[in-house]
C-alpha cells in the first residue's frame, strides 16, 4: 500500500523558490506524471518524496505516516535516474543486487530476485557485464531492474527516457507502462515530454515556476485545460492562442469572428483552438487569413496561416495543397473552443 500525500510543500533556497504550495494526493498503484518545462520544480518535488531533499515547509506522508524526518535510506522508494546512475565498478548482476544487500534481504533470496528482475526487463544475458559494456537502452533497463528488484512501495522516475533516441524511447515507454501494471506499484514519473505524459499517466500534474498549474487525467488536461499555460503546453502542434475581445456574445480578433459564445464575461479574452479543430472550408468561416506555409507529412498536412499578426496552425487533410500568400478560410469546431482571461491566463467557463 502506498498512498502518498504532499500537503503544503514548499522548497526554497535562500531567496529562490523551487517549489511553491504543492498539494497532491497520490493513490495507491497510481501512475502519476509530473510534467513541465525545465526548472518548473517537478524534479525537486520528486526528490522530496525520495528524501534526497527536505521541504522547507509542508508535509509528506506515506500511508498516513509522516516521512519528513525519515532519511532517504529508510524510505521504501526506488528511483530511476536520467543518467541511469549504474555503479560503474560492479557487474549488472551486482548492480541489481545492491539494494537487496543494503536492505538486508536474506541472502538466500538474492539470486532468485535478481534473475527475476533481469528477466522482466530482458537482460538475463547481460548480467555479467559492466555498465560500460551496455548500450543506452540496456543501461536503462538495468536501472529499471535495480529499481524493481526489491519491490518497493513506490517508484520514482526522473526523466528516464530523455537520454534515449526517439525510437528506443517509444519502445521503452510501452515497457515501462506494462511493467507498472504488472507490478502494481505506485509510480511518480517526471518528464518534460508531453507525449510521455499523455501516454503513461493515470493522472498528470503540470507544473510551472514551482507551482501546480493543473492536476487531472490526460483527457482532462487535453480537453479541459485550466489556463493558457496548460493549453499551450499540451498538444503537438500546440493549441493556437489568439487574444481578442468578447462583446455581447461575439468574439472578435483581426481575421476572426465567432458568434454565439456562451460566456457572460465581456472584455479582453484569449481564444484557444487546437489545430485539429480547425477545418478548411469556404462556408461560414470563423477565420480568414493567408497561407503562410504548407507542410505535408504523409498522413496529413500542416497548414500555417497568417491571420492578422499571428501565425495559426491548422491540420488539413493529406491532399491539401495551396500556394503561398493566397487567401484561405477556416471554420472552428464549436464544441472545442476555449476561452481564457487574457490578463491572468485563467480559463473562462
Amino acid at each position: 500500500m502506498a498512498r502518498i500525500e504532499l500537503s503544503g510543500i514548499q522548497k526554497k533556497w535562500g531567496a529562490v523558490w523551487g517549489v511553491r504550495d504543492v498539494n497532491i494526493d497520490i493513490a495507491d498503484k497510481e501512475f502519476i506524471v509530473f510534467l513541465g518545462p525545465s526548472g518548473c520544480g517537478k524534479t525537486t518535488t520528486m526528490r522530496m518524496i525520495a528524501g534526497l531533499e527536505d521541504p522547507s515547509e509542508g508535509q509528506i506522508t506515506v500511508d498516513g505516516e509522516l516521512m519528513n524526518e525519515v532519511d532517504a535510506r529508510d524510505r521504501d522508494v526506488a528511483m530511476v535516474f536520467q543518467g541511469y546512475a549504474l555503479y560503474p565498478n560492479m557487474t549488472i548482476y551486482e548492480n541489481i543486487r545492491f539494494p537487496l544487500r543494503m536492505r538486508e534481504v536474506p541472502k538466500a533470496d538474492h539470486d532468485r530476485l535478481v534473475r527475476e528482475a533481469a528477466r522482466m526487463v530482458e537482460l538475463e544475458e547481460y548480467l555479467d557485464r559492466k555498465p560500460a559494456a551496455l548500450s543506452g537502452g540496456q543501461r536503462q533497463r538495468a536501472a529499471l531492474a535495480r529499481a524493481i528488484v526489491r519491490k518497493p512501495q513506490c517508484f520514482l522516475m526522473d526523466e528516464p527516457l530523455s537520454n534515449l533516441d526517439a525510437k528506443l524511447r517509444q519502445a521503452m515507454r510501452v515497457q515501462i507502462k506494462h511493467l507498472q501494471r504488472q507490478l502494481k506499484i505506485t509510480t511518480v514519473y517526471v518528464t518534460h515530454d508531453q507525449i510521455e505524459a499523455m501516454t503513461l499517466a493515470d493522472r498528470i500534474v503540470i507544473m510551472e515556476k514551482g507551482m501546480i498549474q493543473q492536476t487531472g487525467t490526460p483527457d482532462e488536461i487535453y480537453s479541459d485545460p485550466a489556463n493558457t499555460f496548460v493549453a499551450g503546453f499540451i498538444g503537438a502542434p500546440p493549441m493556437n492562442l489568439i487574444p481578442g475581445e468578447l462583446l455581447g456574445g461575439t468574439f472578435r480578433a483581426p481575421g476572426i469572428e465567432i458568434h454565439d459564445v456562451k460566456l457572460t464575461v465581456d472584455g479582453k479574452v484569449t481564444l484557444g483552438v487546437r489545430p485539429e479543430d480547425c477545418h478548411v472550408t469556404p462556408e461560414a468561416p470563423n477565420m480568414t487569413g493567408t497561407v503562410y506555409g504548407v507542410e505535408p507529412t504523409g498522413d496529413m498536412t500542416f497548414l500555417t496561416m497568417r491571420v492578422g499578426e499571428h501565425l495559426i496552425e491548422v491540420k488539413a487533410d493529406r491532399e491539401y495543397r495551396r500556394a503561398l500568400d493566397l487567401p484561405e478560410t477556416v471554420a472552428f469546431d464549436r464544441k472545442r473552443l476555449y476561452f481564457f482571461d487574457t490578463k491572468g491566463g485563467q480559463r473562462l467557463r
Partner: protein, 280 residues
C-alpha cells in the same frame, strides 16, 4: 593527425632544433652519469676527464659489500610504503568530506590542509627533531614514516579530492535510495570510481618520500634509518672523498622504478602535480 602535421609545418626546423637541443641537454648528463656508475673509481676524477671509460662493476659490488645497501633499500621501501598507507587512510575520508559534502568551514579547512603543502621543512625541522628525540624515535623507520606522511598528506588529500569531484551526484543519490549508508557509499562506490586518482596520489607521495632529504638527514644516523636519498652522502672513502661510481649506481637504482611507474601514470601526471588544478 596528418592535418596537424601540415598545420605546424612552417616552423618545423626551429621546433626540432629547440626540442632536440633540450632533449640532448636532458639526456647527455644522464648518460654520462650512468657511465660514471660503471667505471672504476680511478677513472672518475682525473686530470683530464675520461669520456670513454673502461667498463667495471666495481661500484655494484662495493655498495653491497662495503655498505649496508640492502638496509638503505629496505629503509626507503618501508618508509615509503608505510607513509603512503598512513596518508591514504587519513586522506580518503578527508577528501570525501571536502568533495561531496556541504558544511560550514569547508573552504577554510580545505585551505588549511592545502597550506601545509607550503610548509618549508626547515621551519619545523628543529621542533620535529626534538619531538622524535624525546619520543626515542630518532634513527627509526617509524619516524621517517610519520614525517613523510605528514609532509605528503595535503598533496594526497587534494589529488583524491579532485578526482572525487568528478563523480556524478546521481550515483550517490542512487545509492542512498537503494539504502546505502555514507560509509558504504564511500567504500563500495566512491573509492572504486576514483582508483586512478588514488594510485596517482600514492605514486606522487611515494616519489616525494623517496626524494625527501632534510628530515631524513636529521633523523637518520645509522643504517637503521638511512634511506637511499641521504645514504648517497655516505659513500665516502678514505682521503679521496666521495665515491661517485657508487653514488651514480644507487641513483639509477632509485631512478628505474620511479621511471616505470611515472610512465604508467603519465596521463594523470599534470593533474597530480598540481593537486587537481590542471586536468591533463
Amino acid at each position: 593527425m596528418a592535418s596537424q602535421r601540415r598545420k605546424r609545418g612552417e616552423s618545423r626546423v626551429i621546433r626540432y632544433i629547440i626540442l632536440g637541443s633540450w632533449a640532448v641537454f636532458c639526456i647527455a648528463p644522464v648518460l654520462w652519469f650512468l657511465s660514471i656508475g660503471f667505471r672504476p673509481r680511478t677513472e672518475i676524477i682525473t686530470p683530464q676527464p675520461i669520456y670513454w671509460p673502461t667498463f667495471s662493476l666495481d661500484a655494484w659490488h662495493m655498495i653491497w659489500s662495503d655498505w649496508p645497501m640492502a638496509s638503505y633499500l629496505r629503509n626507503s621501501v618501508l618508509a615509503i610504503i608505510g607513509s603512503v598507507i598512513i596518508d591514504l587512510v587519513l586522506a580518503i575520508p578527508a577528501a570525501y568530506a571536502l568533495s561531496r559534502y556541504r558544511f560550514r568551514g569547508r573552504e577554510d579547512i580545505g585551505f588549511y590542509i592545502l597550506s601545509t603543502r607550503m610548509m618549508a621543512p626547515a621551519i619545523v625541522a628543529i621542533p620535529i627533531f626534538f619531538l622524535f628525540r624525546n619520543m626515542g624515535l630518532l634513527d627509526t623507520i617509524w619516524a621517517l614514516m610519520l614525517i613523510y606522511a605528514a609532509v605528503n598528506l595535503s598533496i594526497v588529500t587534494w589529488i583524491i579530492r579532485s578526482y572525487m569531484m568528478d563523480i556524478p551526484k546521481e550515483l550517490e543519490d542512487a545509492a542512498r535510495t537503494d539504502g546505502a549508508s555514507d560509509l558504504r557509499i564511500l567504500w563500495e562506490i566512491i573509492i572504486p570510481a576514483v582508483l586512478p586518482g588514488i594510485i596517482t596520489a600514492a605514486v606522487i607521495a611515494a616519489i616525494f618520500a623517496i626524494n625527501e632529504f632534510l628530515f631524513t638527514l636529521l633523523i637518520a644516523s645509522t643504517k637503521n634509518a638511512y634511506t637511499m636519498s641521504v645514504a648517497l652522502a655516505n659513500f665516502t672513502g678514505g682521503s679521496d672523498g666521495l665515491i661517485y661510481n657508487a653514488i651514480a649506481l644507487v641513483a639509477f637504482l632509485a631512478f628505474v622504478p620511479v621511471f616505470i611507474v611515472v610512465v604508467a601514470i603519465q596521463k594523470h601526471l599534470s593533474r597530480g602535480l598540481t593537486m587537481g588544478a590542471v586536468k591533463g
